[in-house]
Symmetry: C2
Subunit: 387 residues, 2 copies
Amino acid sequence: MNHMNQTKQTQKQTQTEPKRVNPGLEGVVVADTRLGGVRGAEGFYHYGPHNAAVLAETRSFEEVWYLFAHGELPSPAELASFRSATAQLRALSPDVERAIAALGPIESMPPMTAARSVLGVVGASLGIDSWIDDPVPAGRRAIELTAAFPSVVAGLWRVRNGHPIVEPDPSLGFAADYLSMITGARPNPDQVAALERYLILTIDHGFNASTFTSRVVASTGADLCGAAVGGLAALSGPLHGGAPSHVLEMFDDVGEVSNAAAWVENALATGRRIMGFGHRVYRADDPRAALLRRTTREMGSRHADLALEMEPIVLDALDRHRPDRELRTNVEYYAATVLDAVGLPRQLFTPTFAVSRIVGWMAHVCEQVEANRLIRPKSHYVGQPPC
Amino acid sequence: MNHMNQTKQTQKQTQTEPKRVNPGLEGVVVADTRLGGVRGAEGFYHYGPHNAAVLAETRSFEEVWYLFAHGELPSPAELASFRSATAQLRALSPDVERAIAALGPIESMPPMTAARSVLGVVGASLGIDSWIDDPVPAGRRAIELTAAFPSVVAGLWRVRNGHPIVEPDPSLGFAADYLSMITGARPNPDQVAALERYLILTIDHGFNASTFTSRVVASTGADLCGAAVGGLAALSGPLHGGAPSHVLEMFDDVGEVSNAAAWVENALATGRRIMGFGHRVYRADDPRAALLRRTTREMGSRHADLALEMEPIVLDALDRHRPDRELRTNVEYYAATVLDAVGLPRQLFTPTFAVSRIVGWMAHVCEQVEANRLIRPKSHYVGQPPC
């Protein structure tokens, strides 16, 4: 019943009007989670009990996806069965392919917007419903949507560029097939390994804004597709996931290492954005940046040398100009060089982030619905008193 | 710069890990607002300084929309100009009409899902961008999206049912044109007046889950279309806006007033939902239910008598079976009878709720971006300790 969760006690609580406004919800704990955590002071984050950076170096994407879906790493047999089952779920229905054909060519539509629009059709094709009414369990819906999402992103990209859609190849792993559906070519193993590392590193990261959005949406009883769409909308914002392509634009603008110092001083003097630095949680090095820095060094790319040499110049300048802040390189800085080296166009950087983060969103939503409570904070009216 | 908002002080705050978990964010104040407030104990809510129920009885939808967009009620000249400018913005671009033609016929796609997918195309057609980068002010975007949204809902409905899209008629008011685009006929003035009353009553209501979702999405710098899509996803949940059609299903199931008492006892005994009762905020009568009850009495409709006679039976039974709760009739109960009397199909009840609530979402988003802070609460890890 709609009113099952409402006790008099709760209703009384909401009558008191505390005046302290917390616009960023800093320090407010909304959920207990078994999925992972971030220790900003230590520069450490974990998925379940596992160091996330170690998982990224030692495991496949499917193994870590399984960890989020089932709460523990798979046995070899479980992994084989998960790989094969999820690979089958990559195929798109005729309705979804028609939606891609209709929306893909709209040039003014950013790939993130197109992807979330088409994801609604994926949900419809699956017959997804409010998790309250859906006979298919949320955990299964989570896997279905996650498996299909890379095919949506890739299909839209192909159509946008006038190429035919590349059907998924279930013999390929998740990361390799994503690259292959985008480029139409077999990716080389180094590219696949680097992409897989990036994808694992970015699955989850505390209660970031998109994860929180997915949980708020799910708390209303909305279907899991709606929760994912909320996450996609939040992730598209440049203060969250929508900025990695801007890092490349910055490198383009700087051009050469010899210009870097002057460029940075000028940016700081004129209040221009320096992309890829600062994070609300980390005071120590962001472990994601550390691993992607190493990957950048190993792989090289058009901007690899510039990125590596420019980083200390920026940090030094920030330290002099913003001594009140402890600013570190964040995940976006080297995500840009790695995704570029992998052969992904910059327009797909944020959608690729979503390809991994949707695993985190879906696991959080499954946790939310296990013990749901509608998320409904308060606002404080400060206008003219009502007459 | 990405790191502009991050001071050491804030970063330190986030290092402390308070253990008190507040899963519904009850009593947590996220924002100061000038848009309105809800006084649950008094059964009163207001838009700016104006009693919302009085506005619904005395004003047109456009006047109240103007209040949300501009912070005060319009002069007659301002209203005339606002009416005519917003009426022009109802027209859909060819891309949007093509998207409606492509997605409308997908029978498995709920109207709310289709509407949010097509709204992305509206945003693309308008060239909408992150509010941080968009040269068009957020306030203008808010009006553009609000004006176009009813045409999207109506267009999808027409195509779904095999009818041609009805072009908007700028000579009609907002509510009348919405009805006319759905039915293809000139609505009668009583229906328009009742719909307008419903729409005004449901524009805003504190920090409900969809409004909060829109603000969280906007806090990442996402475009206003993304914020609206997040709101739509949250509103689709049956614990929020996705339930009014279930009220009619309940009336269908009860059938006649003489069955009501037995039906209610049976529902309570078997844990079945009784739709339309209970609200987290109101302890007194929900003023929206009160006004829509009166409208139901005035208009009549297939279920009007049943609804009016069944209400005290349900309240009495709830009082006996759930004496620990103070459950009142909520807005959904009589929203169902009014929207039914207006001639709207039940599949469009929640989308129609969105047609008004988008005004609230957009006003909240505009307030959010005026003094933005990324909304990022915390979770508390309770799994096995990381190795």
